[in-house]
Amino acid sequence: MSFSAIFLQLIQNLLVLLAAPLLLGWVNQCRAWMQGRRGAGGVLQPYRNLIKLFHKDAVLANNASPLFRVTPYILFACMWLAAALVPVLATNLPLSPAVDVIALVGIFALARVFIALAAMDIGTAFGSLGARREMLVGFLAEPALLMVLFTASTISHSTSLITIVETLAHKQFMLYPSMAFAAVAFLMILLAENARVPVDNPSTHLELTMIHEAMILEYSARHLALIEWASTLKLLAYMTIGIALFVPYGIAEAGNWGGLPLAVLLLTLKLLLGGAGLALIETVSAKMRIFRVPEFMGTAFLLAVLGLLTHFLLEV
C-alpha cells in the first residue's frame, strides 16, 4: 500500500467528518428557502450548535449506567466508520477491501441497538417509547436496505461496494431497470432511517410523533453533540451510498490521481443536488401517522424485491 493511498484515505476520513454538519446545514437552509423563511444562521448553523454543546457541562441521571455514557462514543465511531468507508472519491483506498455492503448494514444495526439500549437505560417513558419506535422502523428498513444492496450486487456479482461502483461507473454504460426500483426503495429507506419528514420530524419534540428525538432526550452537552454529529454523519453516509449505487459517474479510477479534483467537484455537486432534493421532499410531504410507517416500509421492501425480480427478467 503506497503512502499516497493512505494519505488519501486520511483526507477522505477527515473530509466526511468535517463536511457532514455542512450537509445538514445545507438541507436545513434549502428547507427554509422553500418554506419562505430566511433560515436561522445559514449553512454553518450545525457547527455553531455543536460548538455550543461541546462547551456545556454534561448532566447525567443518577441511575445512568456506563452503557448510557459510552453509547454516544460508540454511535459516533460507527457512523464515522460507515461514512468514511463508502467510496466517494476514489476506489483504491487502504480501507477499500473492508467495504462490504452487508458489513455496512451491520454497522448501522450495531449503532441502532446501542442507541435503543441507552434510551431505555434511564427508564423514562419517552426513552423506551422512542426506542421501541426506532426498532419498529429499523427492523422494517433493514431487510429493504439489504434487498436494494443485493439488487446492485447481482448486477456486479459482488457484495463489495467497491466492485459495485467500479462495475456501474467504469464499465460500458447500461440502463438498469432494476436500479430504478432500487432507487425508489432506497429513497424511502433513507427518509425513514434518517428520521426525515414523512416518517419522523427531526425538528420537533412533540411526544405523539417523535421517534429519534425521544431516544436522546436524556442526553446533554458533549454526549448530545456527539449524537447530533453522528446523525449528520449517518445522513452523509446514506447520501454517499445512494450516490455510489445510482450515480457513481465521475469517481476516480484506481490509480488515477489526476481524476481526483473532478471527483471532488462532482461529489460536491451531487451532494448539493441531493440535499436540495431531500429538502424538497420534506417540504411537500406531510408527516405520516406512526401506524402508516409499516405500510411505507413494506412498500420499500416490495419495490426492492421487484427490482431483484426485474433484474432476472430483463438483464440476464
Binding site: L175, P177, E295, G298, T299, L306, L309
Partner: protein, 220 residues
C-alpha cells in the same frame, strides 16, 4: 451478450410501467390516480416510439401517436372533467390492508414472469423480455379493479388494463394490425363516454359512487 441500447430504453420503460402499476394499486386519491394514468399513457407512447424506431415498423408510429393523443391527453382530460363535475376531486378512498394487496401483487408479478418466460424465449422481437411485465401490468390493473369499491378508480383500473394489453401486443408481436388498434381505441373512447354517463346515473340512484350498493338487486 450486451443488450442493444434501444432495448435497454424499452426495458426501462417497461420497468417504469410496472412501478406505476404498483403506485396505482396503493394510491388512495382519485386525482393522483388520474395523474398516474396519464403518465402511464405517456411512457407507453415513448416505448412504442422506440420500438417503432428500432424495428422499422412504421405503423407503430401511428399507434404511438394514437396512444399519446388518446391515453395521455384525451382520456385523462375527460376523467378530470368528470371528477370535477361529480365533485370528487379530493376523494380519499378507505382501503383496507394495502400491504396485503401489495403482497398479492408481488405474487402476481412472480406468476406472470414465470408464465411469460417460455413465450419470450420463442419470440424474435427486440422487446421479447418485456412480455412478463406487460402481463404483470394487466393482472395488477385487474387486481386494482377487484380491490376498489368506488366507480371511478375501477374505471381507471379498466383503462390501465387496456394499456397493459396494448403493451403486451407491442412486446410480443410488434403490435396488432392498424384496423384492430383503431377499433380498440374507438371502443375505449366510447366506453369512457358511456361510463361517464353511468357515473351520474349511479349517483342519482344511490347518492354515492360506491358500487357496493349495486350488489343488492332490490330494496328490502
Amino acid at each position: 451478450m450486451p443488450i442493444p441500447f434501444s432495448a435497454q430504453v424499452i426495458n426501462m420503460c417497461a420497468a417504469l410501467l410496472l412501478l406505476i402499476a404498483f403506485a396505482m394499486l396503493s394510491q388512495r386519491r382519485v386525482l393522483s390516480l388520474i395523474n398516474l394514468f396519464a403518465l402511464q399513457g405517456l411512457i407507453l407512447a415513448v416505448s412504442t416510439t422506440v420500438v417503432a424506431y428500432s424495428s422499422n415498423q412504421h405503423h407503430l408510429y401511428y399507434s404511438a401517436a394514437l396512444t399519446l393523443l388518446l391515453k395521455a391527453i384525451v382520456l385523462p382530460v375527460i376523467l378530470y372533467k368528470l371528477i370535477h363535475k361529480l365533485d370528487i376531486r379530493w376523494d380519499v378512498e378507505t382501503m383496507f390492508n394495502i400491504p396485503t394487496i401489495m403482497l398479492v401483487g408481488l405474487l402476481l408479478v412472480v406468476f406472470s414472469f414465470n408464465l411469460a418466460a417460455p413465450i419470450s424465449q420463442m419470440a424474435g422481437t427486440i422487446t421479447k423480455s418485456t412480455l412478463g411485465i406487460a402481463m404483470a401490468t394487466v393482472l395488477l390493473s385487474f387486481l386494482m379493479m377487484i380491490t376498489r369499491s368506488k366507480a371511478v378508480p375501477q374505471v381507471i383500473g379498466f383503462l390501465a388494463m387496456e394499456n397493459g394489453l396494448f403493451f403486451a401486443a407491442t412486446s410480443a408481436t410488434y403490435g396488432m394490425p392498424m384496423v384492430v388498434e383503431m377499433g380498440i381505441a374507438l371502443d375505449v373512447l366510447i366506453g369512457m363516454f358511456i361510463l361517464g354517463i353511468f357515473f351520474f346515473q349511479i349517483r342519482t340512484a344511490f347518492d354515492s359512487l360506491d358500487l357496493a350498493h349495486m350488489e343488492k338487486l332490490k330494496e328490502d
